[in-house]
């Protein structure tokens, strides 16, 4: 075997190195842990991110089990940056008395899920892909149940693992049908042999469910609000952005690359699912009282918008999708950053608790408002541009009615995003959240997010860079 091939996987390898180093330090340090453990983790992870942010030439390893395309570097870098922001936001929470002894686990688990996602993204073979999914899912369930002495967190963990296993089972069943019909698990081979026969179609449907579960599209979204509410907020943030971002990217590549023959069929399917996801999630979001449940439904509807990029199946769709994930990541992490800070300091998660936040914590509420405006797609914030690109990608392929439905839904979503803004700025509370002095890592994360919300849309070269590599699959 040619071991030099591993060197080509430098993204995976450096991540693995970071994981191993952190694990070793954690195991051999004293009860209270190594004092600079977290700083070290952040530095190592930043180095890893920087080392792997320049796209290279396409190649394949292990006979096509692993395929690399330049766009992978972009999506993986987006995930890295997102993870880094989550780590910054979790910094203070991990330093609390109850968590300090298990913060090593937190880093180990988080980075392991990331490793699994890398494999999903670059897989060229369904076995590799499935290993990636499971590598990501198991540590994720553990993370959801990280506050295991908190009933809600434990419950969420159980729910997540049960639903996840169920989805994997269905997915695997679908894959076995596909394998039976085509006799291969290599993406390229399947694509050549596949004829869209009935058994393949059924196989596809079952397989797709597993991915729709990860993206939490209606009707496979039911776990989302409970898990989002129960999991520690930093994990929710991670789940809503990183896990979802990977899944949408993978859906695009596999749908187009492997199941390209059935484009007519999966477009119909996605059509229905997009309409359902956006509409149902919006209607539910209006009624939510808990900010985390509210964000869960918001993320479901955002996922519906992202799928507009998939349904187009074109290069423009691909680059709009990656761009959307980028912008959505910053906006959503900004909201979660604020929610985390408030939960850590004041232990409040109800939307009503945010009443008059502007009068005690103007900076936090402004960040939150900007992020919500971006999520609602109001120009000139980045969220508007990502929506515009993804809508025009679908529009170009003739999905006029679908785009109209999606647009109409943005007005509904505006209503509930604005409601939160209104509560923060225009209402006054008798018993407001006290002035919070934010810790430095969280501050840094919020500054990064805010800058991105304001400037990613305006700096046009970002979209152009992505679209150059648009169809690298």
């Amino acid at each position: 075997m040619n071991y030099s091939a591993f060197l080509q996987l430098h993204n995976e390898m450096t991540l693995l190195a970071v994981i191993v180093i952190l694990l070793v330090i954690d195991v051999f340090s004293s009860e209270k842990g190594y004092r600079f453990f977290q700083t070290l983790a952040l530095i190592l992870f930043s180095i890893h991110t920087l080392l792997n942010c320049v796209p290279g030439e396409p190649f394949e390893v292990a006979g096509g089990m692993y395929m690399y395309y330049p766009i992978h570097t972009y999506i993986k870098t987006i995930l890295n940056v997102g993870t880094l922001i989550v780590l910054l936001q979790a910094h203070r929470w991990l330093n609390t008395e109850e968590n300090i002894i298990r913060r090593g686990e937190f880093y180990f688990l988080t980075l392991s899920t990331l490793f699994g996602m890398y494999l999903m993204i670059s897989a060229g073979h369904f076995l590799m892909f499935f290993i990636g999914i499971e590598t990501a899912a198991l540590p994720m369930a553990t993370l959801v149940a990280f506050n295991k002495f908190n009933n809600k967190s434990a419950e969420a963990g159980a729910k997540y693992i049960l639903s996840s296993v169920f989805a994997s089972g269905l997915s695997l069943f679908g894959l076995s049908l596909v394998y039976g019909a085509t006799g291969s698990l290599y993406f390229d081979d399947i694509a050549k042999i596949m004829t869209a026969s009935q058994i393949e179609l059924i196989g596809f449907a079952f397989f797709a469910v597993g991915l729709f579960f990860k993206i939490s599209l209606v009707p496979f979204h039911l776990w989302t609000p409970d898990v989002y509410e129960g999991a520690p907020t930093s994990i929710t943030a991670y789940l809503s952005v990183i896990s979802k971002g990977t899944a949408v990217f993978v859906v695009f590549t596999i749908f187009v690359k492997v199941f390209g023959v059935m484009i007519a069929q999966w477009q119909i399917l996605l059509y229905i699912i997009i309409v359902l996801s956006i509409t149902v999630a919006n209607l539910f979001a209006i009624r939510q009282q808990n900010i985390k449940r509210f964000l869960a439904f918001s993320s479901i509807s955002q996922a519906g918008y992202i799928m507009l990029g998939v349904i187009s199946g074109t290069a423009l769709g691909m680059s709009s999708l990656v761009y959307y994930v980028l912008v959505y990541m910053f906006s959503n992490l900004a909201v979660f950053g604020v929610v985390t800070i408030i939960e850590n300091h004041a232990d409040k998660t109800s939307i009503r608790d945010y009443t008059g936040l502007y009068y005690t914590n103007p900076k936090l509420s402004i960040v939150m408002a900007l992020a919500l405006f971006s999520l609602a797609g109001i120009p000139p914030f980045s969220g508007f541009f990502s929506k515009y690109f993804i809508f025009s990608a679908a529009f170009k392929e003739g999905f006029y009615v679908l785009v109209f439905i999606a647009l109409a839904n943005t007005v509904v979503s505006l209503y509930f995003y604005l409601k939160v803004v209104k509560i923060m700025f225009f209402n006054q509370s008798e018993n407001p959240i006290e002035r919070i002095s934010t810790d430095i890592p969280s501050k840094i994360s919020l500054i990064i997010c805010t800058l991105a919300i304001v400037f990613v849309g305006l700096v046009s070269s970002i979209f152009e860079q992505i679209s150059v590599l648009g169809f690298g699959i």
Partner: protein, 633 residues
Amino acid sequence: MQYTLLILLLPLLSFVVLGLMDTKWKARVAGSVGTLVLSVVAALSYYTAWAYFSTANVGGIYQKIVPLQTVWMQFSGQLHIDLGILLDPISVMMLVVISTVSLMVHIYSLAYMKGEKGFERYYAFLSLFTFSMLGLVVATNIFQMYIFWELVGVSSYLLIGFYYTKPEAVAASKKAFIVTRFADLGFLIGILILSFYTQTFDFGVLNSGNAGIFASASGVTFMGASVLSWAMALIFIGGAGKSAMFPLHIWLPDAMEGPTPVSALIHAATMVVAGVYLVARLFPVYVTYTPDVLHGIAYVGAFTSLFAAVIACTQTDIKRVLAFSTISQIGYMMVGLGVSGYGGHEGTGYMASMFHLFTHAMFKALLFLGAGSVIHAVHSNEMQKMGGLRKYMPVTHLVFLIGCLAIAGIFPLSGFFSKDEILAATYMYSTGLGIGMSFIAGLTAFYMFRLYFNIFWGKENSYEHSPHESPLAMTIPLVVLAFFSFFGGLIPFGKFVTSDGAAYTGETNYVLAIVSVLIGITGILLAAAMYRKKTMLPDRVSQSLGFIYQLARNKFYVDELYLFITKNVFFKGMASPVSWYDRHVVNGSVNGLAVVTQWVSVKIKGIQTGKVQQYAWVFLLGTLLMAFLILFL
């Protein structure tokens, strides 16, 4: 003329600085900084106008000048989004209008908003609004315009909701934002369609008269109309939202809950005319390729104008009277555009509409600020609380009278000239529509003088402390605006702003002019008879009109209709079933479901497993449904 960029950057800078400083600066400092910056902007705008109109005329036609243009985003092979500054007669005119009114409002607010909580924030928002509005008018392409269009929406939301402690103000700001956003949906779809078929966003290309780019859009039909007509109609819906055309007008009267100077800025001179400006901007496309849509715009404008004028006759809140009057006058401008042809005599309507936009901005800002001065003195918006104020507030009284005479179209004030041109153009298009518009002119004179007599004449109220004239910072802007309202009509507008850029001097139709003035005077006399002295006449008139009066007084129940639709159809019809599903199915709190899930909950205690099992069922059902769909569709 690259210095024009400063016109945009200065207010933005002022917003950033004032926003960052927030309460660190004293209120007086923040106000002075904002006002100072804006006076520089105004000076630059005047200079630009002078430079443009004196140099850009080549061969008798005003050229379009693009001093700055960068490709900002390459979208696909041909389609790209630019950022730039476009100077042509209408954008230069708008620069002057916006910076003038905004400067007056800045000065006026120094006194009017004195002592308000968040004074610094108010000035920051004013700067942001001015920036957005200026950016909107100089946009070189429709996409750039849309971005600033939304920014205008956001900043007006912040300004209307400034009195955040007043629930009505907060509700009004939200209503304004959402209604106009809804209309913007049409705008955005229109842009998508237009750019998709023509492969360009650029106004220069769209208005170049190159028929080739519209070939594909004119060729394709959808539900009996060409795709191009759809696109242009949808774009107009966006404009109708901002310009408060029926039935999207409902937000404007409510928006009066905001501070009065804000109403003068946003709801008289700037944001509400954005829709008119949009149609004027794309006028060559409308008139050449989609004349049907343009005629539709004329009728929408005429109906809105009549509708709002009737309501204005019955309102008692002085700001609401002005709000409905604004809606009516914008209808006038839309009619002017709608009946216009292209070039020369045919294009009178276009010129007249822009002229009216200009004069209206001056006298309506004057009226709003005058109303603010009155409200400042008596601390109320209601007519009943006023009366006989002419003795106490001589300056306000005089300027308000000038504003009323101008809007009533009395010679030789500015409103006479612009309104007369619109009427002339309308009669040229259709006599029926012309008679209708003349009638509205009479109504306008009537309700404006109803307002005037009720405030300054009539029976004197017993005031708790006698009202006094407003301070200089408020009266000076009033006098300046009164000057423009009085003499603005003497500007030979046709020399500067026409549909094709060539100067045009229309001959005055003396019969029409005299008849119009007589109609105006009739309206005034009628109002004087009813309201100059306290009599029983108004009550008797309203009683004899009975049902119709009630209908108009309640704004024809349009708000209630919307409320009914959103409440009963949307919330009851859609959200309630969803919430039912949420409560009974998702939360699984119904007893019947417990039976199904009991055995699992026994196995793993402490977790509400019923739910997970239920989720799995939905999951599986969804999967099977998907498999079924994919097989048989």
